[in-house]
Structures are given as C-alpha cells and as structure tokens.
C-alpha cells in the first residue's frame, strides 16, 4: 500500500471501486459543496472535485475538497496544469495533504478558449504526465520537483485521465503507458458510450499488461436528454456518442428521457463489468449528483465495501 | 459641385478589357469620357498601391477590368486582382471611403459592347454617389 487513500484500499482489496464527481460552485457557497457531497455519502469511495472545469472559474478544488473532508467524505483533488505553475501546484498538493486529502488526479485541463476567461494565459509549465512524475517524486523520494528536500512528504494516491476515444487511436494505449510509467496509480477514463471501441482499447491495454500495473476506472455519464446526447456527440471534443444512443433517447418522450439515460448507464456498467481489466467506475453525473445513488444501487454496487 | 463629373480610373488588362475598349471604338460605341483607361499587362499586375494612389489623387471611382474567369493569359492574374480589390475595399472602409467606389469586372477581348456598358454603368453609379470624400477635401483645400 502506497498511501492511506480509501480508494487505494478498496481497489487493493479487489473490489470494483466507485467514484463520482462534484463540481464546485461559482461563488462563495460552501453549503452547495456539502449538499452535493451528501448525495454521495456512502455511495462512492472517492469524490472527484473538479478544478475550474471547462475552464470556468469556480471555487478552488482544494477548498471544496477541504470542505468535503470536514464532512468526513473522501475527496479526490483534481489539478489541471492549465492554471498553475509547478510552484503553485506543489504548494497546493502539500496543502491538500495537510488537510487530509490523500488522492488526486493530474490533468492538463480544457483549453481556456472553452471557458469564461478565454483571454487568460494558459500556464502549462508542466504537462499532466510531468505532473504525475512530480507528485510521485514528492511522495516516494521526498523531493520537490526542483530537487530540494521535502519534509514529511504528501502520500498521494496518484490518478490520471485517459481518453480511449480521442485520436490518433494507436497512441491512446501508448500514452496510457507513459502515464503509468510516470507513476499513475489509477486511471479514470473519459465517459464511455461506445463500448465496442472501449473494448478495443482495453485489448490494447491488456496486451501491454497495463491493467496489472494500474487500476482502470471506466468513466460513465448518465445522459439527461436527447439534446444533451446530441451536444456531447457533436460539440464536445474527444467524446464518442454513437448515433444509436441518440436515437434511443430521441425515441422517448421528453419526460421519459432522463429515465432512459439512467437505464443506458446501467446497461453500460453491466457490459463494462465483464471486461477484464476494468477495476471500477467513475460516474460523472454533471449537475445530477442526486441520481448517482440510484445508478450505483441499480448497478449492484451498493453497499460500498468497508476497508 | 453642382455639375459633378466623376473621375473614373479603369485599369484594363491588355488581353481583354483594353482590346474590348478598342473594339468599342471601332464599333462606334460611345462610353463616358470620365473613364481614364490605363493599360496594364495583366489585371494581376495592378497593385493595391496603384488603386490607393488613384483615390489619393482624387479619383471618384476605380475599377480593375480583367479577363473572364479561367481565361487569364497568365493563368490566374484575374483572380489575384479580385482578391486585391477585396483587400483594398476593406482598407477603404477603414480610411472612410465608400468601398463601392472600387470594383472588379471581367470581360473578354471581343466584348466591345460590354466594355461600353460597364464604363457607363460605373460612371452613372459614381455620379449618383457624388464626389469621393478625398476628392471633395482636395477641392475644399483648393478653394481655401
């Protein structure tokens, strides 16, 4: 065991792990964070706290994570390389660990173009893979990125993202291998709608033995409406929503669409459970946190193991 | 400027519009004397600078006359000219000269009638628009 992370314990014990996410509010509303956290209490093993998701300013992931921690929950701190240089990141990581946050996810982040501050500078002092290296070095060698000694290092369980649906497809497994070589302990994937393509990607993952070196949590997103399905299909870079999903949503009357979205989600989880190398699920119910419990329950993943 | 007679500069390609002007003459087709024809080896050789200078010197209207699409003697001089005209029209807008005072037209060497018609139409259009703001400012300057 590398860390005290609840997520690591669940995974190491061989359980299918479940994580979900909480997008911090766009204002000083700590109660919003608590409210979103409440929906996930006892439902998931760790709660991802997004870091200026879609390049929109929100309460910092560190502060929101700290609030969740105070509530006795297990936050998973997301850090994007877009907004901070390596000094600021390391400071936040030490700060996070000092506040009891022991699990994190290293990301590059959406380009500022997509957010509400397109005029801002994109920092990208280091990239997500270099961030993984940095955190691992802090944890395992007790050294800062710059080489100086770090007293009482943060024992972070290190996560990274993978998108099996982006191009070039042949690099998708290789890049995952680079993240694992850099020190990623677990992976959360982009939302999976195209299970066939995901299966193909996992074949590549298994052929390199990567599923044995790192835990892979499959990304799941319930779709609320046919409009949302179309938007994700056409407008979100790196998303792969097959036409049949859009058609299934469209076949339902408006009021039945959310229910259909949840059903698709459960079916997807059931299919993914059968794929060798899938170590758990990351459920991204964007502004729909109240539905996560139902999904986890219907997918037969409740109660969560006590470790 | 009650009896406004516009000054129009026409940059005419030797291989088409300039020959068409000749043709118009031999066919006894008249066109307004306001149009000052400048022969160029290809419409693509007309530079933005030539057009801008024409306006600076007081032209009320300018047009570049090149070959029909696909018929340029030098392959694509006419399409280059069309892009140059579009560019200068945007610049004219910045300066504060109505972009419609500048046009790109095409014709073949045999189109004497079209040459006369284009010359007449453009002259009438510019006459309706009145003197270019630069022409007007030059005149005001002279009067003062």
């Amino acid at each position: 065991m590398k860390t005290e992370s609840k997520l690591e314990k669940v995974l190491a014990a061989g359980h299918l792990a479940v994580t979900s996410e909480c997008g911090p509010p766009r204002g000083c509303m700590p109660d919003k964070v608590r409210e979103k956290g409440k929906y996930l209490e006892g439902v998931v093993d760790a709660i991802n706290v997004t870091d200026n998701q879609t390049a929109m300013v929100r309460m910092s992931s560190l502060a929101a994570s700290a609030i969740l921690r105070q509530e006795g929950l297990n936050p998973l701190l997301q850090v994007v390389s877009r907004d901070r240089n390596r000094l600021a990141m390391q400071a936040d990581i030490i700060g996070a660990y000092s506040l009891g946050i022991d699990t994190m996810l290293c990301l590059s982040g959406d380009h500022t173009k997509f957010g509400d501050h397109p005029m801002a500078a994109n920092v990208h002092d280091i990239d997500s893979i270099q961030m993984i290296q940095m955190v691992k070095r802090m944890r395992d060698e007790g050294l800062f990125q710059g080489g100086a000694e770090l007293k009482n290092p943060p024992k972070m369980f290190i996560g990274a993202a993978a998108n099996p649906f982006a191009d070039p497809f042949e690099l998708r497994v290789l890049r995952l291998a680079k993240k694992i070589a850099a020190g990623a302990d677990f992976i959360q994937t982009q939302c999976i709608f195209n299970v066939d393509k995901f299966e193909k990607w996992m074949e590549g993952v298994r052929s390199m033995g990567l599923h044995k070196k790192c835990y892979i949590l499959a990304g799941i997103t319930p779709i609320k409406s046919v409009g949302a399905a179309r938007y994700m299909k056409n407008k979100v870079p790196g998303m792969d929503v097959p036409q049949e999903i859009v058609d299934r949503m469209a076949a339902q009357p408006k009021e039945k669409q959310p229910e259909e979205g949840i059903t698709i989600c459960i079916e997807t989880i059931e299919r993914l459970k059968k794929i060798e190398g899938v170590a758990g699920f990351h459920i991204m119910a964007i502004d729909w946190e109240e539905k996560v419990k139902e999904i986890v329950e219907r997918a037969g993943l409740l109660p969560r193991p006590v470790v | 400027m009650d009896n406004f007679e516009p000054v129009i500069v026409a940059f005419c390609c030797h291989y088409c519009a300039y020959t068409a002007a000749d043709m118009a003459g031999s066919q006894r087709l008249s066109y307004p004397p306001n149009v000052k024809v400048i022969r160029v080896p290809c419409s693509g050789k007309v530079d933005a600078m030539h057009v801008v200078k024409a306006f600076e010197k007081g032209a009320d209207g300018v047009y570049v006359a090149g070959c029909l699409e696909g018929d340029c003697h030098f392959k694509n001089g006419n399409t280059k000219a069309a892009r140059m005209v579009a560019y200068v029209r945007r610049y004219m807008d910045e300066i504060g000269i109505e972009p419609d005072r500048l046009e790109m037209v095409t014709m073949s060497a045999g189109m004497g009638y079209r040459f006369a018609q284009v010359a007449t139409e453009i002259t009438e259009k510019i006459r309706r628009m009145g003197p270019s703001p630069i022409h007007a400012a030059i005149e005001t300057g002279k009067a003062a």
Binding site: H124, D127, P168 | -
Partner: protein, 222 residues
Amino acid sequence: MITAERKPLEELIEYIRPYRRILLVGCNECVTVCAAGGRKEVGLLASGLQMALLKAGASIEVREHTLERQCDPEYVEELVPMLDGVDAVMSMACGCGVQEVARRFKNKPVYPALNTKFMGASERQGVWAERCMGCGNCLLGETGGICPIARCAKQLMNGPCGGSTNGHCEIGDDVDCAWALIWERLKELGQQDRYVEIAPAKDWRAGKGAGPRKIIREDLAE
C-alpha cells in the same frame, strides 16, 4: 521569420493626430516578407493615413523611408538626416525595430504601426503560421521536427491530449494537432520509440523564465 500585422487604422490615427509631420519607417526584413511593413506597406499606410486625416479636415505630412534592417543600430543611423522637422516616428517594423528606433532617438515619440505576432513560416502564399516560441532549448530532434511547444495549444511535451480529433486540435478544426503530426512523422522516420520516452519537465530558464535574454559572442562582441 517574425510575423506581424498592421494595427487598425483608427488606432494609428489616434497616435499621430497631434502631429503635423511624421516619419513612417519600414523594414526590409521579415515584415517585408510577411507583407506587413515593407516599402509597399509603408506607401499604402502613408496614403491611407493622409486620406483619413484629409477627410477629417486635418492634414499631416508623412515622410516615408524603409530601412534595410530596423533592428540594427547601423541602419537606424540612416534616419538621422530625415528626422529634421519631424514630430514623431511611426515604425512599421516588428517590436524589435520599434525599440531600436526609440532607443536611438530619445526625444522623438515612436509609435508601432504593427502588432508583432510570432515566429513562423509561410504555409502557402499569403498564409503564415506559428512554428517556434524561442524556448532556448530546442527539442525538435526528439519530436520529428515538429514543435509541441509552439504548435500544441497546451504546449504538451507528452501529448496528445484527449481533445485531439481527426488530426485537429480541440480549439478548432483549422488548427492541426501537433502531436498527431509528430506521431505521423515519427512513424515515417521509424522513430516510434521516441514517443515512448517521457519528455521531462522543461527548464524554462533557457526561455523567458530567466528574464530578458542576451547572447554574447565573445569573438565578435566589441
């Protein structure tokens, strides 16, 4: 080369409005090649400025001159006899040229006519694209001759990110994914193993990180 674009005429007119006579100075180097500030553009701008002011009932005399290279003091010296009676200088060079003129003529206001954009190459006639950020420690040898710092929107040294679609960058279909290009090129060269190596965090001291940079060639420096 260094690429640039002319500022909007309106902005330039605001700069020169107080003056009666200005010197408009072009440069025969990069900005001539990218059609922003060479002799021809100097002529076009001089005409445009004069017409715009004339139209507004004002007038200005614009002297025109184009230097061989505006970022070298030897050439800037050429301007000395032309500055007599000139109220201000407007430079059509890149930011380097503007500053060189400003440094030489301390009591003349110097205004930029261009927005300096980037170090780039000509993709085709009339199209220039960014190629280099001057990071001071070239890694093109590792990346198949395509720079991820200048050409990846997130300057990922270990890309591509999850937004790469069909060879395009997530910021727009008109932008190539640098890492898709790098991968294609590495394959062509049979250097796929280069991709597998993790590029370590960059030392930005060679670049802007250490503050303004200077090169001193001892054998040449006087």
